[in-house]
């Protein structure tokens, strides 16, 4: 089971973390954009379809603060 954080991490913020991760980030970023390219070229199915049950929850991200 995937644990979802109670805090919405933010889509852009997630991507930024993949870019800011120093040397390790290069490989990840390469893979990420490669996957996107394959999707655009329709070689691969869209990998970013959110799971059905969380689709509606993502419409309006709730960004909570701490307890």
């Amino acid at each position: 089971m995937t644990l979802l954080a109670y805090l919405d991490p933010g889509s852009g913020s997630i991507l930024l973390q993949a870019l800011l991760g120093g040397a390790a980030a290069i490989a990840i970023t390469g893979k990420l954009w490669w996957a996107r390219l394959l999707t655009i070229l329709r070689i691969r199915k869209d990998p970013v379809d959110p799971p059905a049950e969380s689709a509606s929850a993502r419409d309006e991200p709730e960004r909570s603060r701490a307890s």
């Binding site: 954080a5 805090l7 919405d8 889509s11 852009g12 973390q17 990840i28 970023t29 603060r65 701490a66």
Partner: protein
């Protein structure tokens, strides 16, 4: 059956951990998942060490399921925390307090990552103070590092720590009023609206502000979480980002050149002998009251906070001038002082009740009543500069219930003259020693009075009726 313990109104967002108050006890109820995270935390090497170093609030598990019995939150376990002396909020801190709280957050995050744990959020509301020592209070924030997941608190760290600090350090924009207006903090796009042009070249702005705002605008609808996971996101990326943030925040600076007190003039016309008499008056009152909690309102450089601290359990030093409080905090930090909490607040526009139903973040007097209140060189600022009627000022002080040491500066006092000169000639006709003393006497029992500064100022000790 005893009444249900009161759920803390500022702690309900994390579904796995909730704080309750039971008299003087601060308790935390954990869900099943919260409990397994707690067990992992207790087994870690850093948790005990950080508690010993005073960086994490002392916490123990207690076997008292009734203590956190609460409808809608079945507790799998109950923790008990040590109390912090007085709760404060980031919109009341000077720059270096927010910066030091950020560094503590990052230090704990790094220690947790080394043992495959993480902090699930990054909120300055999770940091409180023992004087100048920050302490992390939200033990429920530590959780098992989910495999392949990025740091969920990164955005919150930017909004509530990094952006406020950068706006202050780079653009001289005071962050307190912004954070007071938005408990969610300053979003990347908002920070970018200020940190443009030449600011883009300052450390951290390009990545954490400009790129962040751009990606947020472009990627808002995408499920990047699944994407980065598939691309092999791992812990090392978080660690690298956190190390960069530590370096960045450590270098941010504001207020270093502003160590001169911004308002020396209030003390300038006291000679040494009179200053000593004023010190003695304050010291004697503190000794006779023996207060648990003292408020020093208009604390300036903290001279009287320090005197009060000799005989008080704890002192909250409040001043409206950011640079002055910044300098006081730096001094206290240097001295490792744990008895005086310096806060930035305009007393004519105090911290309001904030958050959900106005109950998450309390007003100053909701967080602890003072046994002693120092109001030195303050009344004329409130009454003349801020136009709060004398009677209103005294009503508020009387409502707090403590003894007051209050100074009244007459119309011939240099500071008062200066304040009055900015008003029309017949302004504040009721600002006289006689009407002040009468109003004070109606609300308090005047224990003693002492004329100072050649009779231009008068010091009173007054007890609540």
């Amino acid at each position: 059956m005893p009444p249900e313990p009161a759920a803390d109104p500022g702690s309900f967002r994390d579904p796995d951990s909730r704080v309750f108050r039971d008299g003087d006890r601060i308790l935390r109820a954990l869900s099943d998942r919260g409990l397994s995270d707690w067990e992992r935390l207790v087994g870690s090497s850093f948790f005990g060490r950080m508690q010993e170093e005073g960086k994490i609030v002392p916490t123990e598990r207690i076997e008292d399921p009734e203590a956190t019995r609460h409808e809608g939150f079945p507790a799998a376990a109950t923790l008990r925390h040590a109390r912090v002396p007085f709760v404060s909020y980031p919109y009341e801190w000077p720059f270096s307090m927010l910066r030091d709280a950020a560094l503590l957050q990052l230090e704990l995050l790094r220690a947790a990552l080394a043992e495959d744990m993480i902090l699930k959020d990054a909120s300055p509301f999770n940091v409180q103070w023992h004087g100048s020592r920050p302490v992390f209070i939200d033990v429920g924030s530590f959780e098992l590092l989910p495999d392949g997941e990025p740091w969920a608190g990164y955005r919150q760290f930017c909004c509530l720590f990094l952006n406020p600090l950068m706006l202050q350090a780079y653009a001289e924009l005071p962050f307190q009023s912004w954070l007071r207006g938005s408990l969610e903090g300053i979003e990347p796009a908002e920070a970018r609206a200020v940190l443009r042009g030449r600011h883009t070249l300052r450390a951290g702005v390009l990545a954490h502000v400009a790129l962040h705002a751009r990606l947020e605008r472009r990627e808002g609808e995408r499920d990047t979480r699944t994407e980065v996971k598939k691309a092999g996101f791992r812990k090392e990326l978080i660690e690298a980002n956190v190390a960069r943030l530590q370096k960045l925040v450590g270098k941010l600076d504001w207020g270093s050149e502003k160590t001169a007190w911004s308002d020396y003039s209030d003390r300038a016309h006291y000679d040494a002998e009179e200053l000593e008499r004023k010190d003695r008056f304050v010291r004697e009152t503190c000794a006779s009251v023996g207060p648990g909690l003292t408020w020093d309102l208009g604390s300036n450089d903290g001279r009287y906070s320090r005197i009060a601290a000799e005989h008080s359990g704890y002192v909250v030093a409040v001043d409206g001038d950011h640079a002055t409080v910044e300098a006081l905090y730096r001094d206290l930090r240097e001295a490792r002082d744990e008895r005086i909490l310096p806060l930035v607040m305009d007393l004519a526009d105090q911290s309001p009740a904030r958050g959900w139903r106005g109950a998450e973040r309390g007003r100053l007097e909701e967080r602890g009543r003072p046994d002693l209140i120092l109001c030195l060189a303050l009344v004329h600022h409130l009454s003349i500069a801020a136009n709060v009627p004398l009677a209103e000022v005294l009503d508020w002080l009387a409502s707090l219930g403590g003894t007051v040491v209050i100074e009244f500066a007459g119309r011939d006092d240099e500071m008062v003259k200066r304040l009055l000169s900015r008003k029309r000639d017949d302004a504040h006709p009721d600002y006289t020693l006689e009407s002040f003393e009468q109003a004070l006497g109606q609300r308090f029992e005047i224990v003693r009075r002492e004329p100072l500064a050649s009779g231009l100022r008068t010091l009173y000790e007054a007890r609540p009726r």
